[in-house]
């Protein structure tokens, strides 16, 4: 096509032909570019497909199967689903998870924000306190849980000693992890303490991104410290708060490790949460089909709550 006979150029102006040539090569270049891009994504995507996407789809399918891990898989239809409603432990785990999330998300958020505001001031030892607050997040969960169990030991832990010295009678002292009514409180407190340092760092970044002129303007407008917090800090932190809320909610729905370390779901089912129940069904009872069904419920729960949060954020 590059050399034109005189006859051809009579019928078709040379410019049109040349443009066609250019279009073709441009399309080819676009395909080439796309292939190059995909080839860069491929290694990561392959890993994702094999280790994440595959298991997710498999678990999804498994929710409608019976399988103990060794015998052949059998189709179960909705058996696993109907079983949920008869499983007392599942119902407890479901509500415990909801309670854990509903209490720990706002409290962690408030603690993280409060800490961030405090440690954003120019106070003595600021860097030390920032590190100290962040430390539980990176510390080994096992070590931290052992310490926590000692500190909250009902008989000789320093917390109860302190409560005793300030005048609480021995029979009213909380039993913490060993007590049906206090076990969830213990797990929640542990969760807050463990993760607030991380979200404090996120809030610190958010705080430092606020234009200081806004505080000056608010001060000239007559705002006191509290009004500045309400009218400048909080609205300016809204994107951070949204991010923290979503992350915390997902994390709280998936809570497992601290329950495993502190209470193993007990006493009774007082701290049994969904992921712990999934673990029990899958690796203690070896009922992989039913545990996948619970996982599916958890997935839907997280999905619905997150979608609702995103919707509300967009409306704001």
């Amino acid at each position: 096509m590059t050399t034109l006979s005189p006859a051809m150029s009579d019928r078709q102006p040379a410019t049109t032909v040349r443009r066609k040539v250019r279009v073709v090569s441009r399309r080819r270049r676009r395909i080439e570019n796309a292939l190059i891009a995909y080839s860069f994504i491929a290694p990561n995507f392959l890993g994702f497909a094999v280790f994440t996407l595959g298991p997710i789809l498999f678990a999804f399918a498994l929710a409608f199967m019976h399988w103990d891990g060794s015998n052949p898989i059998e189709f179960a239809g909705l058996d696993n689903f109907w079983r949920l409603f008869e499983d007392r432990a599942f119902i407890d785990a479901f509500w415990n998870t909801i309670i854990y999330t509903a209490v720990s998300v706002p409290l962690t958020l408030a603690c993280a924000l409060g800490l961030a505001i405090l440690l954003n001031q120019k106070i003595f030892g600021r860097d030390f306190f920032r590190t100290a607050m962040f430390f539980p997040y990176v510390a080994s969960l096992v070590a931290v849980a052992v310490v926590w169990n000692m500190v909250f030991n009902p008989e000789m832990g320093p917390v109860n000693m302190l409560l005793y010295t300030i005048g609480i009678p021995p029979e009213d002292l909380p039993g913490w992890a060993a007590d049906r009514h206090w076990a969830m409180v213990t797990v929640i407190l542990f969760g807050i303490w463990k993760s607030m340092g991380y979200y404090m760092v996120i809030y610190l970044a958010g705080l430092q991104g606020i234009n200081s002129e806004l505080y000056e303007a608010a001060g000239l407008d007559g705002a006191n410290a509290w009004q500045k917090f309400i009218h400048v800090t909080l609205p300016q932190l809204a994107p951070t708060t949204f991010f923290v809320t979503v992350m915390l909610t997902i994390q709280s729905f998936k809570v497992f490790d601290q329950v495993y370390m502190i209470t193993q779901g007990g006493p009774g089912t007082s701290t049994l949460v969904l992921v712990y129940h999934i673990y029990n069904e899958a690796f203690i009872s070896w009922d992989l089909g039913y545990s996948s069904m619970i996982a599916l419920v958890l997935f839907l729960l997280v999905l619905v709550v997150t979608v609702v949060q995103f919707r509300r954020q967009r409306e704001d």
Binding site: E213, A218, G219, L220, G222, A223, Q236
Partner: protein, 369 residues
């Protein structure tokens, strides 16, 4: 009543002093502009008046009250920030109403004041928008509106036009001047732009390195600068400063520049020049006081003429700025556009000495004023 006085006001950051014992009296309803290069302390001074910076020493008096330790909100001032500092999550209306709401004004009063300010500033149609949906000029108006609704006795403006494009800056300059007349309040305005200072101010405060250099009306600053810094800072293109020697001939003082004799006018205070006879001085001549002589013309005032070579000609439309080389010196002259000199042309200039300045080269102070 909002006269302001700064008495030996200073500001230190650790060992660094950024504002040195400033004394300044600002009259009620005056439009005063603090001007100077970056780091001269003008913004810090303004922020001390606003209460945004602690005063390290001296006194700040607004009206009759010592304000050093009074919080910003109780100083009866409003401020317009360089970057506007509008609350991004509030509409224009709420931005303007916020200060009144915090002061517990009734809803009717708030609405009336916001609407009135919006009308004056021509932003009524923007009241429901958020700041990010506004152009720079519109944000500027909202920032002014936010300051206006509280009817403060003093307006503080910190480089309010520096983020606008040149054309809008011109318009807003005029608008702010009109606003000052209309609001009948004291305006303190900080800028590094001497054009803003010259066009808007009742009086200009020229600052450098934390010291006030001169406080005067724009015209007086231009005609009678007290030192070489002010002479160079005010006026564009800059005043030409030429090393010269003072001589006396037939009872008349002359300035000699590179062998070129320039008679000094009799109107100059001769007693001030006399001590400099035979000594070096700096001679200041503004670019517009050079006049080009057409070939064959005779120097009318018989002041002697400069021979120079055109290095660069910048046509401005109404005039031409000529960068010239005379001997070893660079000069700038503003000449009529009917001359069309080309680069490399030799030109002859005469200097009108009636507005010339003389400075002591060591103290840099004016000899004449």
């Amino acid at each position: 009543m909002a006269s302001i006085s700064l008495k030996k006001l200073n500001k230190t950051f650790g060992a660094l002093t950024v504002v040195h014992d400033i004394d300044l009296e600002i009259a009620d309803k005056e439009f005063i502009i603090l001007v100077g290069p970056s780091g001269c302390g003008k913004s810090t001074t303004l922020r001390m008046i606003a209460g945004l910076e602690e005063i390290s020493g001296g006194e700040l008096i607004i009206g009759n009250d010592l304000m050093n330790d009074v919080p910003s909100k109780d100083r009866d001032i409003a401020m317009v920030f360089q970057n506007y500092a509008l609350y991004p999550h509030m509409t224009v209306y709420k931005n303007m109403a916020f200060g009144l709401q915090l002061r517990k004004a009734s809803r009717e009063i708030i609405d009336a004041k916001v609407q009135e300010a919006a009308k004056i500033l021509d932003i009524t149609h923007l009241l429901n928008r958020k700041p990010k949906a506004l152009s720079g000029g519109q944000r500027q108006r909202v920032a002014l509106g936010r300051a206006m609704v509280r009817n403060p006795a003093v307006f503080l403006l910190d480089e309010p036009l520096s983020n606008l494009d040149a054309k809008l800056r011109g318009t807003m300059r005029a608008e702010i001047t009109k606003l000052h007349k209309r609001l009948d309040a004291t305006f303190i305005y900080v800028t590094h732009d001497q054009v803003e200072a010259m066009t808007m101010a009742d009086r200009i405060v020229v600052m450098k390195d934390g010291h006030i250099q001169q406080v005067d009306t724009p015209q007086n600053l231009y005609d009678r600068p007290v030192n070489m810094f002010v002479a160079g800072f005010i006026g564009a293109p800059q005043m030409n400063l030429l090393p010269a020697t003072i001589r006396r001939e037939d009872g008349r003082f002359l300035a000699v520049v590179d062998g070129q004799v320039l008679p000094l006018p009799q109107s100059f205070d001769q007693s001030r020049i006399a001590p400099y006879e035979g000594r070096p001085v700096m001679l200041g001549i503004r670019p517009e006081n050079f006049h080009e002589l057409a070939p064959g013309d005779i120097d009318p005032a018989n002041t002697g003429a400069f021979n120079a070579v055109v290095e660069l000609a910048e046509p401005m439309g109404s005039e031409i700025h000529l960068n010239l080389i005379a001997g070893e010196r660079s000069l700038i002259a503003r000449v009529s556009p009917r001359f069309r000199p080309r680069i490399g042309d030799a030109v002859t200039l005469t200097a009108d000495m009636t507005n010339a300045q003389l400075f002591d080269p060591t103290t840099e102070r004016s000899i004449l004023y």
